[in-house]
């Protein structure tokens, strides 16, 4: 180490009496210690803590996970049949998707990213409506206010400030509403992630930021994305607590999110939750994951599968037998068959709707353009 030459003068006289004082503008701020996340991702399954879990909740989570896995498989199959333009799968991440939906009350709001159709479906959204964006017959296939699910958001992290604004507005109005916003590990590099967390903390908005760290932003691994100790640690810089959880332990994710939602609801402000999970499939059906990761890595994560972890626990505790397993699988199959059948019907498209909702009132220019398209359609019809 180089000795730094100092120009600072030694304190005069009695050194014991000399106390450097901070500049007047400096104020002691929040103690960072209570905001720090867990040192290891929180686990409940396979630990003593699972004894506190409600058996009914465990069964519900199991049924949802099985249904979610089947939904992912069905949606992926629909891309191969040309029924979906694209599908970003959450196979392997079902615990996060399901727990996010179940942590919320009906009056709360979910802000999903484009990958989170499963969370929307687990919240009660019709799967066909949830998949409208990915089928391509419109952008948002549902009324966000009906389900309190914001439009699936493609520009990364841009939905996070929306969640903050909505939660802030609800609190100003005196409504007991929490917003939960979902984002991936790549999204945490976006400026909107930073701005949303900062606004939320300053306003003490009732928001939960839920990061699914699935290891990759398309092909780029987390190490190229951030040098932070963990993504959850980023919370400390904003003055909110960070939580770190095993994203494949559905009970742990549900517990952490439920606690964060409750904290927001009682006026405790926002929380950042990072769930460590893994994207078993490629980024989308259009991606080739073999170009950037080894098969062995995927296999290691398959051994830490969210359904497997819960199934093992339920079986050990006598909460799940062969009949229960079969019932969950059959319910999932019924959902998939219905989804397949409905998605196999061609959507009814109205080209004139392109002009319907650009403005509250159509401008003269749009009326002219609509007339042009109508004439073209009529000419097509006559041909």
């Amino acid at each position: 180490m180089q000795q730094r030459s100092s120009t600072v003068q030694e304190p005069p006289g009695d050194t014991a009496a000399y106390r450097p004082t901070p500049p007047p503008a400096w104020q002691p701020r929040t103690d960072p210690a209570p905001l720090l996340p867990e040192t290891e991702p929180l686990r409940v399954l396979g630990t003593d803590a699972v004894a506190d879990a409600d058996p009914a909740l465990l069964r519900r989570l199991y049924a949802e996970l099985v249904r979610g896995r089947r939904y992912n498989a069905q949606a992926t199959a629909l891309t191969k049949q040309g029924r979906l333009a694209v599908y970003p799968s959450t196979t392997g991440q079902e615990a996060c998707e399901v727990a996010a939906a179940l942590a919320l009350e009906e009056r709360d709001w979910l802000f999903p990213s484009y990958r989170d159709t499963l969370a929307a479906v687990a919240r009660g959204l019709d799967p066909v409506q949830a998949l409208t964006l990915l089928r391509g017959d419109w952008h948002t296939g549902y009324d966000p206010r009906e389900y309190r699910v914001a439009p699936l958001c493609t520009p990364l992290a841009t939905q996070l400030p929306h969640a903050v604004g909505l939660a802030h507005a609800a609190r100003l109005k005196g409504d007991d509403v929490v917003a939960l916003a979902m984002v991936g590990d790549g999204g945490t590099s976006e400026g909107d992630f930073h701005e949303a967390l900062n606004f939320a903390a300053v306003w003490q908005a009732p928001v939960v930021f839920f990061v699914q760290n699935n290891g990759f932003a398309i092909s780029v691994p987390l190490a190229k994305q951030t040098a932070a100790p963990s993504l959850a640690h980023k919370a400390v810089g904003y003055g909110m607590p960070g939580r770190l959880v095993d994203g494949n332990d559905v009970v742990a994710v549900h517990q952490v999110l439920t606690e964060a939602v409750a904290r927001a609801r009682r006026g405790g402000g926002p929380t950042l939750v990072e769930a460590i999970t893994y994207r078993i499939d490629a980024h989308t059906n259009a991606d080739d994951a073999t170009r950037y990761r080894a098969d062995g890595e995927v296999e290691a994560w398959r051994a830490h599968d969210p359904i497997l972890l819960l199934e093992r626990e339920l079986t050990e505790r006598g909460l799940l037998d062969e009949d229960g397993r079969r019932a969950a699988a059959e319910a999932a199959e019924t959902m998939a068959a219905e989804l397949r059948e409905r998605m196999n019907a061609d959507p009814v498209l109205d080209p004139m709707a392109l002009f319907s909702h650009v403005y509250a009132e159509q401008t003269a220019q749009l009326r002219e353009q609509a007339a042009q398209l109508r004439a073209e359609l009529e000419a097509e019809g006559e041909a």
């Binding site: 439009p151 520009p155 400030p161 604004g165 701005e195 909702h357």
Partner: protein, 345 residues
């Protein structure tokens, strides 16, 4: 640089209230809207305690509380992004971007969300909000304080783009913008903030409809099509032109989107000649669109090509050189002179 037909002295002589500035009219518009509608929320950088760097939100935080007029963190994307969430919950945010060039960080929120939320949700989730942007040069501002950014906004479907040129319009158009169920980019010509008129805050002007241009000066020789900070320039040019024997009509667009083709085309058909005047860069600027529209609609009435007087295609100059960039009276008159007045020229 007043657009009023009577000066302060005349107002005083007539016993009228003292003239109001455009900044005061804008403040009054927000104040009246906030008093009438509890869902109207003003937010931005320094809009609360300070009253805005141009004092346009002066007194609003004091009168309505900091929850209704909020000093936000310094982050334009965050300001507009949270405003989107507030609008989703039924509020009517009025967002201030402190300067034209400071609004750029908010572009993604504006273009990817504000402008298309109504469309992407098939009308289920409109975005009733106003994004106020002080714009344009002529105030001696240093770099990044004088941009004319209207072309970016005009090129984005789903936005209304409005700009007042008079104190009365500042009030009326801002009231209309706040009342609109669509997002309105409200461009405030910052060098007209201190322009005055006899407009009285005690008897506010009627709310102007968005999308209607107005003929500021009737004339027969040629039409000057302009808006915002260039309106007073064109009016001055029209007065000077009388010495040359030209009687110029001046159309103040007021709304760039929606565009009032009807008023503009009717004027050009009457005069047969047109010059578009704006501060914004000429290339792919608003004038390009306007000249094309006029040509499409008035071709057989035109005696000369539609000309443009615009800012040069350069980054906005430093303040000591900006007068060379801004379209002035002489440059407008030069363009008028080139409108092929002599047969066969």
């Amino acid at each position: 640089m007043t657009t009023a037909t009577t000066g302060p002295a005349a107002a005083k002589a007539a016993g009228k209230p003292k003239p109001a500035t455009m900044a005061q009219a804008l403040q009054r518009a927000m104040r009246d809207a906030m008093a009438e509608d509890p869902t109207v929320h003003v937010m931005g950088e320094d809009v609360g305690t300070l009253g805005g760097v141009f004092r346009v939100t002066d007194g609003l935080a004091k009168e309505f509380g900091e929850d209704r007029c909020t000093d936000t963190p310094l982050a334009e994307a965050g300001i507009l992004g949270t405003a989107v969430g507030m609008a989703m919950y039924g509020l009517r945010p009025v967002v201030e971007m402190q300067f034209d060039a400071f609004a750029y960080p908010a572009f993604e929120q504006l273009i990817s969300h504000v402008a298309r939320m109504r469309n992407r949700t098939r009308g289920a989730m409109p975005m009733p909000m106003v994004i106020r942007v002080p714009y344009g040069g002529g105030i001696g501002g240093v770099e990044h304080h004088s941009d004319s950014s209207e072309a970016y906004y005009m090129a984005t479907p789903g936005l209304h783009v409005v700009t007042p040129a008079t104190v009365e319009d500042a009030y009326g158009l801002l009231r209309a913008a706040i009342a609109s169920d669509d997002p309105v980019v409200f461009l405030e010509p910052k060098r007209l903030y201190w322009s005055k008129s006899d407009w009285s805050p005690e008897a506010p002007a009627a709310v102007e409809p968005i999308g209607k241009a107005v003929v500021r000066r009737h004339g027969t020789s040629a039409t000057l099509i302009t808006y915002g900070p260039s309106v007073p320039v064109c009016l001055e040019a029209a007065e000077a032109a009388t010495a040359e024997g030209w009687d110029l009509e001046v159309v103040d667009l007021r709304s760039l989107v929606p565009f009032d083709d009807e008023t503009v085309a009717a004027s050009v058909r009457r005069t047969g000649r047109a010059v578009v005047v704006h501060e914004s860069n000429g290339f792919a600027g608003p004038g390009a669109e306007i000249a094309a529209r006029v040509t499409e609609r008035c071709f057989h009435h035109l005696e000369a090509p539609v000309l443009r007087v615009a800012g040069f295609d350069i980054p906005y100059p430093p303040p000591m050189l900006e007068r060379h960039h801004l379209p002035g009276v002489d440059r407008v008159l030069d363009a008028v002179a080139r409108l092929q007045w002599e047969a066969g020229s």
